[in-house]
């Protein structure tokens, strides 16, 4: 039996960055918003014991319980898809704040080239530069158009940084100065400058100094404790929904979060979403929550899965390339990297902050000429200083035994005497990479799991080799005595942690035939349904995704308010 609840203005599915930003903006304007979150509610004080590598980083305290729901994976459609039984390649956040609670705080704007990737690539190199099966698209929004929303998001989060000499134009400086430079960062800075590159301190959501944002929310500065990614910040320094937008929404009196509420279907009739069906996980009761506007703001997989389960939008068909839901799933190409081992130089590798590092963008986007290269795009090159914790960080030179006396000795010797420089490669979309529903495996309710069909392509292998060479050269200039370079990409392996930068499946564009949402994240087919998050990226850039998710969320909030006033398609 389903209990029908009184109608609200807006219901959000999930309460992470996107829902939090939208809730704050809408409730300020007097709209009533309900946020349905399947995980628990959280507050900063809950992270009192957060400096626990085993509990948070290794046992995944803040992540979705895979026994209830996971994804299935295959490299291609000839392979049998099988469930991801334990965590590997990426992590799925759960609970209030979502992935925004456990993120590192590495915060970027995409390059102007990223938003017009297809047309700018063709313009410069000709249509033949793009392989036939590479389905990259323009976003339907330009950098200049999205810039004000980046600005708004960065002010809310108090992003710390300094100008990227090779990045897009900024209308305003960073709200707070760049983070402090560690010795390893200074080494990278000096070496890359000598090599003629353009290093800059990584933009960070960890907060370099005390900051009060335009909403009046004050936060303390980062202490560089080295426990960010996979952890909650016990200091409230790391920008996350729980210490930024959610308090603003709550203070209006117009926002209600319902934790332990798992949305099972989006309800839909006569071309409109009428609300959602959800289960209260504490009692098993089912509820219908009617709303004027439904905001689908879960992680990438949730967004695609709920649309497919609810029969909304045209499912993507990889054989014909038609349809849109599940199309252009992309990821991040991160194996082009090198680790340098220093015989007589130790660093404070245990200190750090999630969004701390030095970067060059000389090989990102189209900042370098690709005429004689057999790949497009590129990626940032970073020396990160996130804080190396001891269970996860036991780097030894290649050829060292992986256990026993030799391993112990080398891992202890190099734990503070090795540095890694890595490429964060952009991931292009392909016709054969997509998300759909698995025909065999189900979640705890008996609903099909989402299925990933994805592998690395020739473009990715070439990019990896290219980035590896650049990383190696930088470490050489930094004075490493021995360098291990990772050049081999291999097939995509779901069991190996790479990044939680999954993108696509409900992509943004200018044409309803080839995209699912317009540049307000409004569904072309269902005008009162907004699908917000990295699911709307047509392909992924050579940067971490959250800054762009934040900008798109502010744009979506503006769109929802416009829609509630006038109705109809915003484009």
């Amino acid at each position: 039996m389903v209990t029908k609840l009184p109608k609200v203005d807006v219901v959000t599915i999930g309460v992470g960055w996107s829902a939090g930003i939208i809730a704050a903006e809408l409730t300020k304007q007097g709209k009533k918003v309900v946020g349905l979150e399947r995980g628990k509610d959280r507050k900063t004080e809950d992270y009192f014991m957060a400096h626990d590598e085993l509990r948070y980083a290794v046992r995944h305290e803040m992540m979705q319980d895979l026994s209830k729901e996971t994804i299935t994976f295959r490299n291609n459609d000839k392979m049998r898809s099988l469930p991801m039984r334990s965590y590997g390649s990426f992590l799925l956040g759960v609970g209030v704040g979502g992935s925004g609670a456990h993120w590192n705080g590495q915060n970027f704007r995409f390059l102007p080239y990223d938003f017009e990737l297809r047309s700018k690539t063709i313009e410069k190199y000709g249509a033949d530069k793009i392989p036939a099966d590479m389905t990259i698209q323009d976003w339907g929004i330009t950098y200049d158009e999205i810039e004000p929303y980046y600005d708004q998001y960065e002010k809310m989060a108090g992003i710390s940084g300094e100008d990227n000499p090779l990045g897009g134009k900024r209308s305003n400086p960073f709200p707070t100065p760049a983070m402090k430079k560690t010795e390893a960062m200074r080494l990278f800075d000096d070496a890359t400058k000598r090599m003629g590159y353009h290093p800059y301190v990584q933009p960070s959501a960890n907060l370099s100094e005390a900051y009060t944002n335009p909403d009046g929310i004050s936060r303390a500065a980062c202490q560089y404790c080295g426990f960010c990614e996979r952890f909650g910040c016990e200091y409230g320094a790391k920008a996350e929904p729980g210490v930024t937008v959610l308090p603003v929404a709550k203070a209006t009196g117009n926002f209600e979060i319902r934790p332990h509420s798992e949305v099972r279907r989006i309800l839909y009739s006569n071309g409109k979403a009428t609300g959602v069906l959800y289960t209260d996980l504490t009692t098993g009761e089912e509820f219908e929550q009617p709303a004027d506007v439904v905001v689908l703001s879960g992680y990438v997989f949730t967004n695609v899965r709920l649309l497919l389960l609810s029969g909304i939008g045209r499912p993507y068909d990889p054989t014909t390339g038609t349809g849109v839901i599940g199309k252009n799933y992309a990821y991040q190409i991160r194996k082009g990297r090198a680790t340098g081992f220093f015989d007589d130089h130790k660093f404070n590798n245990f200190v750090g902050s999630g969004g701390l590092g030095m970067i060059i963008d000389d090989y990102n986007g189209d900042n370098f000429d690709h005429s004689d290269l057999d790949f497009i795009h590129g990626g940032m090159i970073i020396l990160g200083q996130t804080g190396q914790r001891p269970i996860a960080n036991n780097q030894v030179p290649s050829g060292t035994k992986s256990w026993g006396k030799e391993f112990k000795d080398a891992s202890l010797k190099y734990t503070n005497a090795s540095l890694t420089v890595s490429g964060e490669g952009a991931s292009m979309a392909y016709k054969q990479h997509f998300l759909d529903l698995d025909p065999v495996y189900n979640d705890a309710f008996g609903d099909p799991l989402v299925r990933i069909t994805f592998d690395f392509e020739e473009q990715d292998r070439k990019l990896t080799e290219f980035m590896a060479d650049k990383c190696e050269a930088i470490l050489k200039e930094m004075g490493a005595d021995h360098i291990d370079t990772s050049r081999e990409l291999g097939p995509y392996n779901v069991a190996e942690y790479q990044s939680t930068h999954n993108t696509g499946g409900v992509i943004m564009g200018a044409d309803p035939e080839t995209s699912a949402v317009n540049n307000y994240s409004q569904m072309w087919d269902v005008e009162n349904l907004f699908v917000v998050g990295a699911s709307s990226f047509p392909q992924n850039a050579g940067y971490n995704p959250t800054g762009t998710v934040g900008a798109l969320s502010y744009r979506a909030a503006e769109g929802i308010l416009k829609y509630m006033e006038k109705g109809g398609s915003l484009i």
Partner: protein
């Protein structure tokens, strides 16, 4: 201050601890010294280490956490011996035995990790490709049960002795066969079991002592990892600095 000088207090502490253990006359000397003497002592009387090490300085006589939640005594002894070979005592400091890694593994196996509570364990089961991750039916409790039994059987088959009575070299040879996937096991592979054992051993050496391993934070001390610290603002821009570690206990009980 040079790096060596900064390191000095820690080194002093280590050697004085070793001196203390040596002088105390406890048979854990075999563990600390390692090498031929260590293996002789272990071979002599297999229960010696189990009985004595819990009374060592590192453990403290009143460590009431030192008891078994999951393992049988035999499983415990094999795990302790195998973990010590994976992470042996050496000049850097204590090995898995003195760090109480086997107790850590025992306690972990008794709970969610051992039972795979947060993992997807529904069928159907198929072998899968290497890119698809673990697809077995067994949880870690079962993998340990199969793997530890396998270690003992392989030892008896090869040397006609229990694993805990083998020399260090013989133990290493058995474990290498497991790591290389050369030992036939029913329900899992020897390489998979060894991988889980190796991972758990590293965890037990470096997880916060609240989980029962990393006794006296000695794992962190060897690794120059300061554990739980509220702030590194004072050293973030500085050269390598040794910071005395603190455990979460200091946060909870202060």
């Amino acid at each position: 201050m040079s790096e060596q000088e900064k390191n000095a207090p820690l080194l002093d502490k280590r050697s004085s601890r070793r001196t203390f253990i040596k002088n105390s006359g406890l048979t854990v000397g075999g563990v600390v010294l390692g090498g031929a003497l260590g293996s002789l002592l272990v071979k002599e009387e297999k229960t010696t280490t189990t009985e004595t090490h819990v009374h060592s300085e590192a453990t403290g006589t009143n460590n009431l956490n030192v008891a078994l939640m999951y393992f049988t005594p035999e499983q415990y002894r094999i795990t302790e011996a195998a973990a010590e070979r994976i992470f042996p005592a050496d000049d850097n400091g204590p090995g898995a035995r003195e760090l109480l890694v086997a107790y850590y593994i025992d306690h972990q196996l008794a709970g969610a990790w051992g039972m795979g509570s947060k993992e997807y364990t529904s069928g159907p089961f198929f072998p899968g490709e290497a890119t698809q991750g673990y697809q077995g039916r067994q949880n870690r409790q079962q993998i340990f049960e199969i793997g530890l039994k396998g270690i003992e059987e392989q030892s008896l088959k090869t040397y006609d002795k229990s694993f805990t009575n083998l020399s260090e070299e013989e133990q290493d040879a058995i474990l290498t066969e497991f790591a290389d996937g050369n030992v036939e096991l029913k329900g899992t592979t020897s390489a998979h079991f060894f991988g889980v054992l190796r991972t758990a051993t590293i965890e037990g050496a470096y997880a916060d002592p609240l989980y029962g391993g990393n006794a006296n934070m000695a794992g962190w001390k060897m690794k120059n990892f300061p554990g739980h610290q509220m702030s590194y603002l004072d050293i973030i821009e500085k050269e390598f600095t040794v910071v005395e570690p603190m455990a979460l206990n200091s946060q909870h009980k202060h």
